[in-house]
């Protein structure tokens, strides 16, 4: 990422992937040019957040990682719905509506979409494939304030919008769902990507509604309720993102 900074600008970046279930960060490089003092903290979702003040002029950030990850996702048809009374405390917050996922408004829609799918994984998969089948992927049709309700009406958007709709529909049927931002190998055109995880069968499962099926080779950068939580850069001042390039290569 390369910024043109008009005046010293505080920023919060989330560009350091964490090792975790199914993901091992083997190599990582995170360069700031020019280098400035940075502090790092862990937010409510366990993401590592970097705080700095971008100096006036050109400021570039280059984050590279080599990550061990699975070639295929772990599909689990039949994984059961977890009763709300038995959810881990941590998962409860992912049942709540959020800025871009008004699950409180989409109950009836969700019920129609899931039909008679078995409670749990199969319902989420039905939501995922319904979105893929019924929405059109098109750049320039949505913006930073577009929410799931709007996307449900317009039936068009990008990965962020598809994800918000998936999140809202899962929560509407009491399945905890969280947003993931990160990278997907072979995405075309290559860019940052967003998808979601749903808590069924007593663990989180990966779902991506932008493709015919959910592929593997994913790198998670950050988790959150929706895009408000997982902005990879948040800035407080006159910095203009001039260029952003993303490469994902298989090692």
């Amino acid at each position: 990422m390369s910024f043109e900074v008009g005046a010293p600008t505080p920023m919060v970046l989330m560009l350091r992937p964490r090792s975790g279930y199914g993901q091992w960060v083997a190599r990582e490089e995170y360069l700031l040019s020019p280098h400035v003092p940075v502090t790092e903290y862990t937010d409510n979702h366990g993401n590592l957040c970097q705080r700095l003040v971008a100096p006036e002029g050109e400021f570039s950030v280059r984050a590279t990682a080599t990550v061990e990850t699975a070639d295929m996702i772990d599909e689990s048809p039949g994984a059961q719905f977890v009763l709300p009374a038995e959810l881990p405390d941590y998962a409860l917050q992912f049942l709540l509506p959020s800025r871009y996922c008004q699950s409180d408004l989409l109950g009836q829609t969700a019920i129609e979409i899931i039909g008679d799918a078995a409670p749990g994984y199969d319902q989420v998969e039905k939501i995922r494939s319904w979105i893929y089948d019924n929405l059109k992927y098109e750049y320039g049709t949505s913006n930073a304030s577009t929410s799931a309700v709007e996307t449900m009406q317009s039936r068009v958007g990008v990965c962020r919008d598809f994800t918000h709709l998936g999140l809202a529909l899962c929560r509407a049927i009491n399945i905890p769902a969280r947003m993931v931002v990160g990278y997907l190998h072979d995405l075309k055109p290559m860019d940052l990507h967003a998808w979601f995880e749903a808590f069924v069968g007593w663990r989180w499962h990966t779902f991506d509604s932008t493709d015919e099926k959910t592929l593997g080779n994913r790198i998670t950068i950050a988790y959150g309720r929706d895009a408000a939580d997982v902005a990879l850069t948040t800035q407080f001042g006159p910095a203009i993102l001039k260029e952003m390039q993303v490469w994902v290569n298989a090692a």
Copy 2:
């Protein structure tokens, strides 16, 4: 609170106030009838949350507390705006838009309202008094899905709506703001109440836009980003709230 429960219903309650800055819980009573097993956890905002399964039939919850609190809020005209670069990590999340507080859509509105008030406390006070002066307090004009943007248009609502608008406007000008639910002495008619706190002058300050000025004698039950985080009861099943009574007496 008294519920008519059609079938065993998981619930999450937030009815145990915590001692904290300016609030001391001297006595507390929390009775369930019939008594059922409960676990308690602490959420992201430090609230104590009680998890239980309400049994079929009549189920009542009675929470009583005697709390030491200040007669007057600590007004601090002139308390300064804290630069985003200097905010404590914890406060950053309260700059983000949330389900009912689309701060990302209200930037221009906020700028018009604050006018030339000094950055910080005075801006928040201007937002607070503008809401009091320009909105009409009226029951039945909003519902559980009403958001700040809708309230800004309709100019009518209850304490929850007034608070959501205050939160959204503060965040729109980069002042961290969090929702508070609790009790206010002498509120008429007596009910649960909601207000907000803004982080200026390096600490949280209390603001209530439902009255001419922000009075003291408040008891905080829970903090959160907005009403999604601080529902005092969340239920997953067929329980009907039959009756809820609130009393607040000065000791």
Copy 3:
């Protein structure tokens, strides 16, 4: 508790029991006389800690609670040893040696005591009963700096010492063990009490080595690694504890 305070003295108190697994705080009262400002925070073990400055002169603290708890502990002979690789992250810290529990020095001793008991609950029960059978309960034989190694040699002590030895022996065989301070109904003479919990069969189980068998009717006030973590009062200055009385009555 009643203190004679020579000069204003900062204190950290841990006198507010929390609701949790098998324990429900139905009523609670916490009075300071004279009343002073207090803040409360949650420590690493989830204990609620009250911070205040005791004023010069007489200062008394009175904490009362009505707690729902089980008449009997949940004995689970045969509950299995949990492999270290499968322990929850949270339990790992309770494998480490601590100030009063030098588990690193007691490996051989532990192995001799457990003999051929089945790995898990039965080993812990063997440690518990060995301590009861081989140590003498006697006031005035130990002090605030007595550790498990010393107690193993002297074979004498009070509940705190018995507990430290139980903790150290469990950790020496890779069973996570944590200290509990609280109240036990019908303890004679009535006083604060200490016991321990061990993590076997995928959850925490209660053990008390000061009696022939582990009785029920316990109220937990605080958890920690050992007595260093769970001092109910820590003071930084010239306050003298003049009187402390404990009552536990069945409701």
Copy 4:
């Protein structure tokens, strides 16, 4: 590090430095050979901990990092003692005695050592230089169970022992002190190193009692109460560390 593993052995490693105040991890590489599944969690002190099961046979771990750090520590003679009542909640735990730092037994010793130094930084510096002046650095004189009280008597040890004594003496005079393990440039012979930080003047300051003065160019790997918390490898089974090499080069 290279291990000879007799049977599959669960391990907890702490080998990933975190970015933080005065330290920026620009590049990092963490290779396991053979590669095995790993999960990572954050402990009570914010350290990133890697959990894995080392497979039978040869197992090697190679962690490399390029870290931006200061050439010199930030000496602050005169930085003031922080009253216990004003310490941040987080620092309180670092006043407690711990496995290797029996601060409760060293009060009188600490008072004699600090003499009439000004409360705060100057007292800690006096403790640090007293240890350097009065202890002999010698390998093979202490072991994994040696504590501060023993080191005070023997007056001999290695960096770990010097650090434990510094920690215990600081806590004995109510100054929060935490252990640091990491790397120091130009240490001879090169090895892992340990030192301590004390909380005075409202922030943590670096002290190293193994040299005439506290040098810069340090990389922090982990923080904790004492060596029990910051073992870079903890293993539960028959793995033998065959070789460990440490290189630190200036970039």
